[in-house]
């Protein structure tokens, strides 16, 4: 089951560059929340703060509070524990190139020390079914490399890999921007199904995509969150002038 995310006074830096400034927002459980905004506005940095991937960069720094469910992720837990509860899908599909499809999906469990075959088999099958890839790959699970799949399939494989560790939140950083329209619509269908079980945060450059998949939308600009509201309101009647300008294509 998904959990809500509560962000209070979040600030983030890359070196001396203040990329995120005083972000406050509540992301509802079991919904899809879209983050839109022009390039370099801090959307990606924001989602990377939600699973503490931001701090893997040695010059990065972060302050503020992020509560996922009832866990304060910067106070109560280690980064590796957070990342098991908050899955992430990246912009470019990044399967492990030397691993089979099966091993790619099982990687999260195997590398954390699970080795029970039956559990692994079940998890791989369930995750691949959840990411709508099972029927396409079930005959060659262990023979074929993850890197030999098409781009769209690779991205669904990455989603399956993230789902296999049974997270509560799924972060997607422009998951469809490197894919063709058919693969994109498959990913969007998938988001629709997944949000019944997981809390989804999706960064996107494609405003139609945000309108299609998300209940809530946040608009980021220059490291600040300008507006956060229901998707319908953001796209039809935004309260901030800058949001309106961006939505109507006047900049960005």
């Amino acid at each position: 089951m998904g959990v809500g995310i509560e962000v209070t006074n979040l600030n983030a830096w890359y070196g001396t560059n203040h990329t995120l400034q005083d972000i406050n927002l509540n992301i509802p459980a079991n919904h899809a929340t879209a983050l839109i905004g022009p390039s370099g506005c801090g959307k990606s940095t924001f989602v990377r703060c939600l699973n503490r991937m931001h701090e893997t960069n040695p010059i990065a720094r972060v302050t503020g509070t992020v509560r996922i469910g009832d866990l304060d992720i910067y106070q109560d837990a280690k980064p590796v524990e957070i990342r098991r509860r908050v899955g992430m899908v990246f912009q470019r599909p990044n399967p492990f190139p030397t691993m089979s499809i099966y091993d790619n999906v099982a990687a999260g469990l195997k590398l954390n020390g699970y080795s029970n075959r039956r559990v692994l088999d079940e998890t791989v099958e369930r995750s691949l079914k959840n990411s709508a890839l099972w029927d396409e790959v079930k005959d060659e699970l262990k023979k074929k490399s993850g890197a030999s799949l098409s781009g769209g399939q690779q991205q669904r494989l990455c989603i399956a890999r993230a789902l296999a560790v049974d997270p509560e939140v799924l972060l997607m950083d422009e998951p469809a921007s490197a894919l063709d329209p058919v693969s994109t619509s498959k990913i969007e269908d998938l988001i629709f199904q997944l949000k019944t079980q997981y809390t989804i945060v999706i960064v996107t450059h494609n405003m139609q995509q945000a309108a299609r998949v998300a209940e809530k939308t946040g608009f980021f600009l220059n490291g600040r969150m300008v507006e956060f509201d229901s998707t319908h309101k953001i796209f039809t009647n935004p309260s901030d002038k800058r949001t309106e300008d961006y939505i109507t294509g006047r900049f960005g």
Binding site: M53, V80, R92, F96, A107, G108, L111, K143, S145, R161
Partner: protein, 319 residues
């Protein structure tokens, strides 16, 4: 290219005003066609020239190896017999005999040197690329490895002589293996580092984002992804020390009898080649040629074998 209409019109108007007739479209197109013809011809010539240089370079790279190999077969193949692989060398001046002890000795020396050089080299490479990146210690290690790579092999032999032989008071296979092993370290270390740095950042991030601890991600994901390159580096180092003579002269020393004991002096193919090729007897010269041939063939076989075994684990379609 499609320029917006208004833009194009303005440009044409300006050109016509400035250049008169030469600004017209017909004139421009004609001129363009002419210069395109010329450019196409230049491109064809450049293309041919570049391909020619590449082919020539390839030939120059392969030629020495082929020449050496052919010459070795010509000089050495006639002295190869079953005796060569099974018998011990005869006393100086007596015809016949073989190099069984040298072949086994080389194998023992290379096993010792690989056991020393490969783990230390790979470990150092992992440190340089993953854990120590940008630190002063890493820069020092990298610099040391590069200097070590440039140390003449005879100096390596002398160093090990003063460190081990001088204290032990006798020559030994172990000391020879240590000398060769130290020579392997910089090559293995630096290729491991380079190969690890080539693993895409996205792959590391994928592992970290699954909640895998950094050390585990490095060992199970990054090193595994880079393993074909790392194996190539190890094979390069292996092949290089397999033919080294100088570091063995003061350490393994050579031995005309059977020995596999690491604490005793041991024979090796390069040592035998050296000894036989400066001997006054024609028969021994021929044996030296044969030994050189066997050495090269054994290196090629060993390297190919490792590559074959390593490539069997690779999946269909893996990059």
């Amino acid at each position: 290219m499609h320029l917006p209409g208004c833009w194009c019109g303005q440009l044409r108007a300006v050109l016509r005003r400035e250049w008169g007739e030469t600004g017209t479209r017909e004139y421009g197109e004609q001129k363009l066609r002419k210069s395109n013809d010329l450019r196409a011809r230049i491109r064809t010539i450049t293309d041919g020239g570049a391909t020619g240089i590449a082919v020539l370079s390839t030939v120059l790279v392969v030629a020495p190896l082929v020449a050496i190999f052919v010459y070795l077969i010509y000089k050495g193949a006639s002295s190869l017999s079953l005796d060569f692989f099974t018998k011990l060398p005869k006393p100086e001046g007596e015809p016949g005999g073989g190099m069984a002890n040298a072949i086994v000795g080389s194998a023992v020396l290379l096993a010792i040197s690989s056991a020393i050089g490969i783990p230390i080299g790979i470990g150092g490479g992992i440190f340089l690329a993953e854990f120590g990146r940008g630190t002063r210690l890493a820069n020092m290690v990298r610099f040391t490895a590069d200097v070590l790579n440039g140390v003449p092999s005879i100096v390596m032999g002398l160093a090990v002589y003063s460190l081990i032989i001088y204290r032990q008071k006798h020559f030994s296979a172990l000391a020879g293996g240590v000398a060769l092993g130290i020579m392997m370290i910089p090559t293995v270390c630096r290729t491991t580092e380079e190969m690890l740095l080539m693993v895409p950042h996205a792959v590391r991030e994928a592992a970290l984002a699954l909640g895998v601890p950094n050390w585990r991600s490095v060992l199970s994901i990054t090193v595994k992804t880079a393993s074909p390159g790392i194996i190539t580096g190890c094979m390069l180092a292996f092949a290089r020390v397999a033919g080294e003579t100088a570091p063995l002269i003061f350490t393994a020393f050579g031995n005309s009898n059977w020995s596999v004991n690491p604490n005793d002096p041991i024979s090796a193919l390069p040592l035998e080649i050296y000894r036989y090729s400066i001997s006054p007897y024609d028969d021994e010269h021929r044996l030296a040629w044969a030994a050189a041939l066997v050495l090269i063939v054994l290196i090629v076989v060993a390297v190919s074998l490792v590559r074959f075994v390593a490539s069997r684990g690779v999946l269909k379609g893996a990059s």
